[in-house]
């Protein structure tokens, strides 16, 4: 209804040049102030709920802040002591290393698999394509926590279906195998979980981008005798490069800071096998009550993420041209 009405109004409208409403000189004060009033709630919310916690985090990282200071207040500044403490701790560096390895494995798998899946969807017939996309959307839609719970069930040692299937395939050693007791296999399960949850978004986005590549390019390449690998390397990839860049940055950020899956499945264990930076910061603050060290680790995390974020924004603004 509304659309029809609006359509009629457009037809009657004089052909005025497009410019934002209210762009006139000599407007009364309240009209000029209006936009600022409209964004004021956003600014206030951001200031208190985002900027202030960030700043507070930075402050705590320069203070001595344990359980005593949490209860009584009056934390004193200790300069860079906390940073010195974490930077001289071997455990911290092993966590940093593990976080990078964890991110690299996950993002590498996500990028390769989602590219392959996107190419596959692109090559399928309509019905099969819709089926696959439906499956991807389902995997995408399931809440992280539900997925995490299901994966714990899939990999259960006694009744888990994965062990059953492996034994059926002839790997007898998996009979009753306790996946979550071993560091490496817990790490692997978390990787599978994160990749399983991340591929749908990346694949569907890449597929959507692939549909924008003009068909003629492919056809002429085929006439010239180029095979599928060559077509991907010479046509699809160069055209979609900005899109690949954006998704790569997003996935790096998302994987790097992933917390829920690890915390719920293993809390960083067994041993320290799945301890990454966000989990480490949380753990050190919660179980040791060293909020100062936790804050310092969080600051390091944010700094590392900011570097990736800068690359992301550069890519995005190159894409969009302007804000």
């Amino acid at each position: 209804m509304a659309v029809v009405q609006a359509e009629r109004t457009t037809a009657d409208a004089p052909t005025a040049p497009t410019k934002p409403v209210g762009d006139r000189r000599g407007r009364p004060l309240w009209v000029r102030l209006l936009p600022y009033l409209l964004v004021a709630p956003t600014l206030l919310g951001t200031a208190y709920l985002l900027v202030y916690p960030m700043v507070r985090n930075l402050l705590i990282s320069f203070q001595k802040f344990g359980i005593g200071q949490l209860i009584r207040g009056g934390a004193e500044f200790v300069g860079i002591d906390n940073y010195r403490e974490i930077f001289t701790d071997d455990k911290f560096w092993s966590v940093v290393g593990r976080t990078f390895v964890f991110t690299a494995i996950n993002v590498g798998l996500i990028m390769v698999l989602s590219t392959l899946v996107a190419l596959l969807i692109n090559a399928l017939d309509r019905w099969m394509r819709l089926t696959v996309m439906g499956g991807l959307v389902l995997a995408w839609a399931i809440p992280v926590l539900a997925a995490t719970t299901v994966f714990q069930w899939l990999f259960q040692s006694q009744l888990g279906v994965v062990n059953w299937a492996l034994v059926q395939l002839g790997f007898e050693q998996f009979d009753g195998h306790a996946w979550f007791a071993d560091g490496r296999s817990t790490f692997a399960i978390i990787v599978v979980l994160i990749v399983w949850q991340s591929v749908p978004f990346a694949a569907l986005t890449l597929y959507a981008a692939m549909t924008t590549v003009p068909r003629e390019l492919y056809e002429s390449a085929q006439i010239d005798g180029a095979g599928p690998v060559k077509i991907f390397r010479l046509i699809t990839f160069p055209i979609l490069r900005p899109m690949f860049g954006l998704i790569l940055c997003l996935e790096v950020i998302w994987v790097f800071k992933s917390f829920v899956q690890i915390w719920v499945i293993s809390q960083g264990g067994p041993g320290d096998a799945t301890l990454t930076l966000p989990v480490y910061a949380y753990q050190i603050a919660q179980s040791l009550n060293r909020y100062d060290l936790g804050a310092a680790i969080s600051v390091v995390t944010v700094v590392l993420l900011t570097l990736v974020l800068l690359a992301y924004f550069r890519q995005m603004f190159k894409e969009e041209g302007e804000l």
Binding site: G45, T131, A295
Partner: protein, 277 residues
């Protein structure tokens, strides 16, 4: 000819493989939820729903506090998203329809805010909530979910608003509306589908959030939300995987429904029709 047929078959098999791999965990969850305990513990699992039972759902629903946590989750998600919607509407209007100094900087701020690593803010949030006596209170979560969804909501609404030509409102103003009447009568109906899909996405974010709900609600067990409850399923259900899967299914259900509603909604219903005319 034969190689093309081979290619088709191979592609379709690969497609089926991807489909099976993405769907299986979800299928297994729902299947387990409906299986009698006897079948769950069977030596050889059955992959089809041979015997169906609702007893696990009954166990899950009657578990201590299930409905309470359900209500808590719904409360924080709905209030957070509504708040974000109202605030974002104002900001998006200012950004999309008005010229003012600082507009670019504001948009940049929203983009940056959208990428906030919330996981790194857990500790200061805990300290701040403790200082301001906001621990163990649901409104604290409302505020955090409001801020989590706000940037995304502004960006999307701005996108929807940009898609609605300003001429529509100008025409309305020529016909005697003021700027706000024009907005309410002309733009708002066109914006409604956008508002709906944006808020549903926000709802999903808030409904799924675990880390803050887990950290900020500690002593008052009655204020917990569903994800936190689900994460401690072994305390509630022990090794009763049927009930655990039933609980997970119930937790997933609203999200799934929203995804079904959104299918197509996101792309249709925007001003496409109005612009074409």
């Amino acid at each position: 000819m034969r190689t093309r047929l081979h290619r088709r078959v191979l592609l379709n098999l690969l497609g089926l493989g991807v489909f099976a791999f993405s769907v299986f965990p979800v299928y297994w969850m729902v299947l387990t939820a409906f299986k009698p305990t006897k079948d769950i513990q069977a030596e050889t699992p059955s992959f089809l729903p041979v015997h169906v039972t609702f007893s696990h759902f009954s166990t899950a629903v009657h578990a201590d506090g299930f409905w309470l946590f359900w209500r808590n989750s719904a409360f924080v998600a709905v209030t957070g998203v509504l708040l974000a919607l109202v605030v974002a509407c104002l900001a998006a209007f200012a950004v999309a329809r008005m010229k003012w100094k600082g507009r670019q900087a504001f948009i940049l701020m929203v983009f940056v805010a959208q990428m906030t690593p919330w996981e790194a803010l857990l500790i200061p949030m805990y300290v701040i909530a403790r200082d301001t006596d906001m621990l163990d209170k649901l409104p604290t979560l409302t505020l955090i979910y409001f801020m989590m969804t706000l940037p995304f909501t502004i960006v999307t609404l701005r996108g929807f608003l940009n898609a609605i030509p300003a001429e529509l409102e100008e025409a309305g103003q020529v016909d005697g509306c003021n700027q706000f009447q024009a907005f309410r009568r002309i733009v708002f109906p066109l914006l409604a589908p956008g508002l709906l899909s944006t808020s549903l996405f926000g709802f999903i974010t808030a409904w799924n959030e675990f880390a803050f709900a887990n950290l900020l609600i500690i002593k008052e067990q009655d204020q917990r939300t569903l994800p936190v409850w689900l994460s401690s399923f072994s305390n509630t259900f022990g090794t009763d995987w049927g009930a655990t899967m039933a609980a997970a299914t119930l937790f997933m259900l609203p999200v799934l429904l929203i995804f079904l509603v959104l299918q197509g909604r996101v792309t249709t219903g925007v001003a496409a029709g109005a612009v074409k005319g």
